[in-house]
Amino acid sequence: NAGVTQTPKFRILKIGQSMTLQCTQDMNHNYMYWYRQDPGMGLKLIYYSVGAGITDKGEVPNGYNVSRSTTEDFPLRLELAAPSQTSVYFCASSRDRVSQETQYFGPGTRLLVL
């Protein structure tokens, strides 16, 4: 199993550009999450999904969108990039609600918005 994979590893965007961060898991997990990690801060939940076709907002959803058309994929979309979105983004998954606490994380995508 590859676990949770994320692409790209690093990206530089100009203000106003858009991009999609890809996340795929091969563990057949129902729950998937997107977090951002800012320096000196813990992880902040952006969006999460409890299954294909179901998504919900986390703590900091503004400026982002997600979709979950399959169990495996959970892309994160930035429509109009802003400097405040400079961060490291982590995708994670867990089997179900009961085992939600044991999350498996991807290696992260480092995003710089200039």
Partner: protein, 114 residues
């Protein structure tokens, strides 16, 4: 509001000495508590969790944590530190059936000195 605090930005310990990384929490209800570790340029890895039962929880890589309800703490410990333990450690909390999301602390960087 639910919160978790890691009062130390960094902890330095000599190799072979015992280490403690502190975590306190503030939640209503019975919390689920976790520790994660993050190595450079990697996603978070699950170390251990407390849900119920014995207050002393043993996890991966020789780490353990003690749940103290009266002090609302969940400190991470290891009897003898290794240089390879140097990493960023995150404490996290979840209240089951409430909000159903995990809140992460800001992290503590652990430096093990050879």
């Amino acid at each position: 509001a639910q919160s978790v605090a890691q009062p130390e930005d960094q902890v330095k310990v000599a190799e072979g000495n015992p280490l403690t990384v502190k975590c306190t929490y503030s939640v209503s209800g019975n919390p689920y508590l976790f520790w994660y570790v993050q190595y450079p340029n990697r996603g978070l890895q699950f170390l251990l969790k407390y849900i119920t039962g014995d207050n002393l929880v043993k996890g991966s890589y020789g780490f353990e944590a003690e749940f103290n309800k009266s002090q609302t703490s969940f400190h991470l410990k290891k009897p003898s530190a290794l240089v390879s333990d140097s990493a960023l450690y995150f404490c996290a909390v979840r209240v089951p059936n409430r909000d159903d999301k995990i809140i992460f602390g800001k992290g503590t960087r652990l430096h093990i000195l050879p």
